[in-house]
Symmetry: C2
Subunit: 548 residues, 2 copies
């Protein structure tokens, strides 16, 4: 029997860019093709995607791409994979709807083989089959994936929580998970994002009282900011708005888009006459107004941040408005978010971000839910995914505390395959893997050297020194020309620098000037020493030597 | 009677760079002269200090500078103020000791008029007097300042908590605060940092069980990272180490410095033979080793971060080591801290950062402690300081909930004075105030324009295009020379750019080339359009035109 290979291209030992390949013989299945966001060291980087080299090298073996749900960290890099790998894309009707617009921007949608599945379908792909199983999460139509291999079921939980009162009434199919456990789960790949949180997480529905309280008591308009994909949260805003006599407008392109799609498809049930557009707001009393807005991560271009800076054209905030911060700060965004919140308080806007009655809950299960998943599916091997090393570490401890033998728990790493055969599970040789940085121009692949240069540019700026020489005659022509950007220096100092460089080059001997490289080296050297001496700074110096 | 002016130069509506001036007639007192750290938008900025213009313009009126405690956000910008303002510096013996080295670096210490006070001293300064009153905080010898004015006592709490079991046994002088309240506090300027935390904060001593547990159970070396100024925390490490048979080494220049000073002065009582230096560690069993380390904020150059990257020369971490994260992430540092923690987990280091038994507590009082301060001092007016707008907002609500009339609660703003006269308190005209950015070269004053340029440089990099022309003849000399840094473009594209620019300039007519500004404008324009077209990016383009 063939060895089954579990190949993490992204999403283990990190939260983001989830992408897992499962290979049996000459059949490869890909589950999720996500992106992640750059950290503050990745200057000029828009998004981070997995390095797809392994899939590209084996493109003829890729039988299908499966999407567990429509969050960016699970679907965001699909357009980039599709540039090189053509395979059927299996997803729920909802997921297809949400990713469609992005696919249309970046690829020829007609050429794509989009296939809709329903939970419970059993999809034959090569020598394997895939069964999506419904789980609850912060976005509709999320499914775990049960992948049948020769050695048993590889069960990927996807992002999940066990919410017994989900907003859309669609509960996790716990019974089916139990059946699969009975049939035989060889490997459980489990969400571990919230393993640090003890107990059982609150239901999405538990934010209703918090929202209701604010909607009732707010003296003026109520704004709520959350992720553009938090459809369940938006549903509750519409419901509570209708109940408290407020109408809801939507701010932010992405959110408007999602509201349209979801209301059209029935995933969002908007009570009659509750939906209004921005211009209609002026006809309403502030107490009749609620507004859904993007910007929960302090994104500079978002409506919320621009309103907090009073630079947003379509709407202004005023004292007496209330903002509900109904989201989780993604690590790295805290400072920008707090700056926004503080600007709002200065404007007299009341911001509700932590309260006795919660206004946000996580879409990921807590420790007891993670334990229940293990208990339900009774896996032979278990490995946490969708977590940083600290989460993986704690998940492994948790599994051991449940009595799961240590040698059947694996801490996976991007780029290192886990092999399953009749007798055992073991790590294989690393396969080509890594991260690819995409700049704001959409160009894939920003080199580390470019990032290093940007870091230096950002710190001390850049100075260019241009000189013209006549290599034949071995003499300088004209004076040195200096320009600078981002350098904390007065113009007078730059003028001095030009003189210093001019004097130096002019003083060189004929044969020295004939050596263009020496001149270039000298110019850079003189400039660097001058600036370091005067300012104790090290800007990047670009010597430009023109041969005339 | 004179109007008493409360002039916040920094530290209200923000956490950091605390600096308050109190003026009565021709007498000015300054309390605290702190710095704050740059946010991620302040590229190339080392520290942020208050704009001292008001104090410089009135330097002859400054009778004294008082320091409440030795934290950087209260003393860090003193060397910069002292460049222009000479006045006696009043502080506790401990605070003087800790700031001494910094003052020696930046100013001629012999010229300074350093005066030591003890809690309870009454220091006459011009027409006012200042009485330091001991409070508990996360650093020794912290004092509130009772400033007697013609209209009553202006009481600045400084950073405080009411810790009834402080490590050094020096309790807050609650009785004295009560007496001052009876005497008559016209204005209370209160710490508000932890107003969001309900209840009463835990004592510094409450971390002992957490430390003891880890020190006993850790299978190998124990490292603890905290702020270099957390003397109390360090004391507990030495005590628990002695108790559990471990010896303590110190990593990090600043921390070593503070340990020396504090042990010499008796603020740190190091049990005999508990202190070792790094080289002695190799003689010890891992279970006999504890290490104090800086780097709790994920500072790239800190020992901890370098060890996590295995680039630290003096020491390596190994699987089985344990790190106690005994600090609070300063907003903005979270991402860097988590990256460090995750790298450590990957190395097999067990990191204790949240646990049932706490390993860190705050030095700032919680809500009930803030209420107790109001209750004790019974101020006529109250204003929260040392908080962001969100904290000020919540503090004002809290004071109202205590029955304090709203019109006697003030939300201060940096740069806007609060006037106190016989009848009332009211805001005066704004005075010169703001922030000054200090770069890594120690140069004060980084312009906004420079920051904007750095932001662009950081995003897309820089391209320089140099051409030489002969304005007399009106002709181009030689070819265009292109160089780039931080631009995500292949060399071939830059070569093409050089050709495009050369062709363009060569094609200009004689009279056009004679117009140097036009040539410069053209070169920049052509280059920008070329890059935008090919890469959809907008790097900074620097055209250098040399006249030969």
């Amino acid at each position: 029997m063939a060895v089954v290979q579990i190949l993490p291209l992204g999403g283990v030992g990190e939260i983001g860019k989830n992408c897992m390949a499962i290979r049996q013989g000459d059949d490869i299945i890909v589950v999720d093709v996500g992106l992640s966001f750059p950290n503050e060291e990745m200057l000029g980087v828009d998004i981070v995607i997995p390095d797809f080299q392994y899939l590209i090298e084996n493109k003829d073996l890729v039988r299908g791409i499966f999407l567990t749900h429509a969050h960016e960290d699970h679907v965001g890099s699909l357009p980039y994979l599709l540039r090189d790998v053509k395979a059927p894309i299996y997803a729920s009707e909802f997921t297809h709807a949400l990713i469609r617009s992005k696919l249309e921007e970046k690829s020829n949608i007609k050429e794509l083989d989009l296939r809709v599945f329903k939970p419970g379908d059993i999809i034959e792909v090569g020598s394997m089959s895939v069964e999506p199983v419904r789980v609850t999460h912060s976005i509709p139509e999320t499914t775990a994936m049960a992948i049948r291999t020769q050695h048993g079921i590889v069960l990927m939980t996807a992002d999940f929580k066990f919410d017994f009162t989900p907003i859309d009434g669609k509960l996790s199919n716990i019974a089916r998970l139990g059946e699969l456990g009975k049939e035989g789960v060889i490997l459980l790949l489990s969400d571990s994002t919230n393993v640090e949180r003890p107990g059982w997480g609150p239901s999405e529905r538990s934010v209703i009282p918090g929202l209701r309280k604010v909607f009732n008591e707010a003296p003026g308009r109520v704004l709520l900011t959350t992720f553009a994909s938090s459809i369940h949260r938006m549903q509750q805003v519409y419901d509570v708005a209708a109940e408290t006599g407020r109408k809801v407008a939507v701010l932010g392109r992405r959110m408007e888009q999602n509201v349209d799609i979801c209301s059209r498809m029935g995933y969002l049930k908007i009570p009659r006459e509750t939906r209004v557009n921005l211009d209609e707001l002026k006809l309403l009393d502030p107490r009749q107004i609620a507004i859904l807005s993007t910007g929960s991560q302090g994104e500079p271009m978002s409506a919320l941040v621009q309103m907090s800076k009073e630079t947003y054209g379509r709407m202004q905030l005023v004292a007496g408005d209330t903002l509900i911060y109904s989201a989780r700060p993604i690590p790295g965004n805290e400072a920008a978010i707090w700056r926004t919140v503080n600007r709002l308080f200065r404007m007299g806007v009341n911001v509700v971000y932590e309260s006795a009655t919660p206004v946000h809950v996580s879409g990921h299960g807590y420790q007891e839910e993670l334990k229940m998943m293990i208990n339900l599916t009774r896996p032979f091997y278990v490995a946490p995914v969708h977590g940083e090393p600290r989460h993986q570490h704690m998940y492994c401890k948790m599994a051991q505390d449940m009595g799961h033998p240590e040698h059947r728990i694996f801490t996976l790493t991007d780029g290192i395959p886990l092999y399953l055969d009749e007798k055992e599970a073991y790590f294989g040789e690393p396969f080509p893997c890594g991260r690819r940085l995409v700049d704001y121009g959409g160009n894939v692949g920003v080199a580390d050297e470019v990032l290093r240069d940007r870091t230096t540019l950002a710190k001390d700026g850049v100075i260019t020194v241009a000189v013209a020489i006549d290599p034949e005659q071995g003499e300088m022509v004209g004076d040195a020309f200096v320009s600078a950007k981002g350098v904390n220096a007065p113009d007078s100092l730059l003028a001095q620098l030009a003189e210093v460089v001019t004097d130096h080059v002019a003083s060189l001997r004929e044969h020295e000037i004939k050596d263009v490289d020496k001149v270039r080296h000298d110019v850079g050297d003189v400039a660097r020493r001058f600036i370091t001496k005067r300012l104790n700074l090290r800007p990047i110096v670009l010597p430009n030597v023109i041969e005339v």
